[in-house]
């Protein structure tokens, strides 16, 4: 049973990557969109560009992981092909796990391109590689679970896009990408603590500036908790919807 589930997850992810993710518009959107935002900010505030790298990576992994993920499941449900997966001899968590895995793989691929450019420009000195990898992996998992939850929670593709943006855009401005958390009013800081992107940016900042593991571990744990909660919610909603 476990072998069936793992195999199913792997092939669902592979199929999604081929069928939906690795298309030119997705790749260009995943890379250009965060670059455009960061470039605009950098032009307005020259001299702080290196500080923007964690935010740039955070935005990239947020959008690259969740954009297609939030659409794929609802799209497949609309055209009936999700039913094929539900008829396969795998559990519902494995099905959603496969969907998440596709989002994670795509998010990490696109982010690694952006990361390579950032490292080429700013150098690799002082980077905590283990923390960087863990932060990217757990962030991709959390955002992919968020995308899966959005996708099972709605009935139409346009609703998925609307809901995903409703969640992501406030997160983009409150998650410490452009404005550090400490510079925000206390009430907004509390809101920011409810957003996974906040922990992504904090952990990435620690990875790039030699921050302490103690703080970073809290961030990593928070991302893991977001992943588990959002994934469990997605499984529950899908199970209820499928009768």
């Amino acid at each position: 049973m476990l072998a069936d589930n793992l195999r199913g997850m792997f092939y669902i992810a592979l199929k999604d990557l081929r069928a939906y993710y690795f298309k030119a518009p997705n790749i260009s959107w995943g890379i250009l969109f965060p670059f455009a935002f960061v470039l605009a900010f950098a032009i307005r505030n020259p001299g702080e560009t290196r500080d923007l790298v964690p935010g740039l990576l955070g935005l990239t992994i947020l959008f690259a992981t969740s954009s297609m993920e939030a659409i794929v499941i609802v799209f497949e449900r609309r055209i009936g092909s999700l039913e094929r997966l539900m008829l396969a001899p795998i559990s519902l968590p494995a099905l959603l796990g496969g969907k998440m895995l596709g989002g994670i793989a795509f998010g990490l691929t696109v982010t690694s391109v952006v990361l390579a450019v950032a490292l080429a420009v700013f150098g690799v000195a002082g980077v905590n590689w283990l923390l960087l990898i863990l932060a990217l992996l757990l962030s991709a998992s959390a955002f992919s679970a968020m995308g899966a939850f959005v996708s099972v929670a709605v009935r139409e593709v346009f609703e998925a896009q609307t809901l995903a943006n409703f969640i992501r855009f406030p997160m983009m401005f409150l998650g410490g990408v452009f404005v550090p958390l400490v510079a925000m009013p206390p009430s907004l800081q509390m809101v920011a603590r409810l957003l996974p992107l906040t922990y992504t940016v904090e952990a990435l900042r620690a990875a790039f500036s030699g921050g302490t593991w103690a703080v970073a571990l809290v961030d990593l744990a928070a991302l893991a908790v977001f992943t588990v909660i959002l994934f469990a919610l997605a499984v529950r909603v899908l199970a209820r919807r499928s009768g």
Binding site: D4, G80, S81, R84, A88, G243
Partner: protein, 315 residues
């Protein structure tokens, strides 16, 4: 005879939501499907056919009742059941973005067909369903008939001993529908058990060994085709060909409980002065049985389904 499916008191009640009151879609049905047979499941729209298939294939959980499929308990071993069945839903639902062969290979990957067998098995299925020339064509670019054939091929990719076919020929042109029927007959000859729902009564009559008729969630008849016809034989049916003064011909059917002579007398009485060109006594067909049991006629059922499509059974 082994029973591949045994359903006991299977019931599905969809709870009320903002748009509807609670719906008892399937209401305590009992039936068995024997190994190697084509079992037809007929009924008008909303009768409970698709809900029954969705329960038997593990897509929805029954509200009450039980079923054993391939000796597995439906409620406890749904995943094991899924491993051994093939399902062709009413709408062809493979992936538009994958080619014909990639769709088949993906099906095999999901069901654990060994890697070294996948390509060869896919080629065999493409050949069998006359799709070899389309092996590298995207599913989105296939004709409707080809999509249907490929969807059936994908359901057979892991060699299931039991296949559920939900309206396999609906919406197909005559040739595609005929070709698919031949494929279904071929599957039966190979020993595959088939659970078939269809709106086309002639199709069911031609393909099925036994037929269950479901109306409003309940099975109202279940027998062999001949058995069902025999149950309808109590009524005499005559078909009269009438012609008016302009030579315009019309065929009319008359049923009568009092025998053939009474039916002919009734036909003559209702001829309205037109000439009687021919009188034929008819054996009841499945349509007659269906009309008796459901109060609907085949045309109403086809109209519900959006036209005749593949209904012209030609082989």
């Amino acid at each position: 005879m082994n029973d591949i499916i045994q359903a006991n008191g299977l019931t599905k009640i969809y709870p009320a939501d903002k748009d509807r009151t609670p719906l008892r879609a399937v209401d305590g049905i009992d039936f068995a499907v024997h190994q190697g047979e084509v079992f037809g499941f007929l009924g008008p729209n909303g009768a409970g056919k698709t809900t029954t298939i969705r329960m038997l294939t593990g897509l929805v959980r029954p509200t009450s009742g039980s079923a054993r499929i391939l000796d597995f308990d439906l409620l406890k071993d749904a995943t094991c059941i899924k491993k051994h069945i093939g399902v062709v839903p009413e709408a062809s639902n493979l992936y538009d973005e994958l080619t014909a062969i990639d769709n088949l290979v993906f099906s095999m990957q999901l069901y654990g067909v060994p890697r070294q067998e996948r390509k060869a098995r896919a080629e065999v299925l493409l050949e069998r369903f006359r799709l070899s020339e389309k092996r590298d064509t995207l599913f989105a670019k296939l004709s409707r008939g080809m999509k249907r054939a490929l969807t059936i091929a994908a359901a057979l990719a892991h060699r299931p001993p039991l296949v559920f076919l939900d309206e396999p020929t609906t919406g197909l042109d005559v040739m595609s529908a005929r070709s698919l029927r031949q494929m279904i007959a071929g599957l039966r000859d190979e020993g595959v058990t088939i659970f078939l729902t269809t709106h086309y009564l002639e199709e069911a009559e031609r393909l099925c060994d036994r037929i269950g008729i479901i109306v409003k969630g309940r099975i109202v008849a279940l027998d062999t085709v001949d058995g069902l016809k025999a149950s309808a034989q109590e009524k005499a049916v005559v078909e009269v060909t009438l012609a008016d003064s302009d030579g315009l011909q019309e065929k009319k059917r008359f049923e009568c409980d009092d025998g053939v002579e009474a039916a002919v007398m009734r036909a003559l009485a209702e001829s309205n002065g037109r000439r009687v060109l021919a009188v034929n006594t008819l054996r009841p067909n499945l349509e007659d049985v269906f009309v008796q049991l459901t109060g609907l006629n085949a045309e109403v059922m086809l109209a519900e389904k959006g036209g005749k499509g593949g209904g012209n059974v030609g082989g």
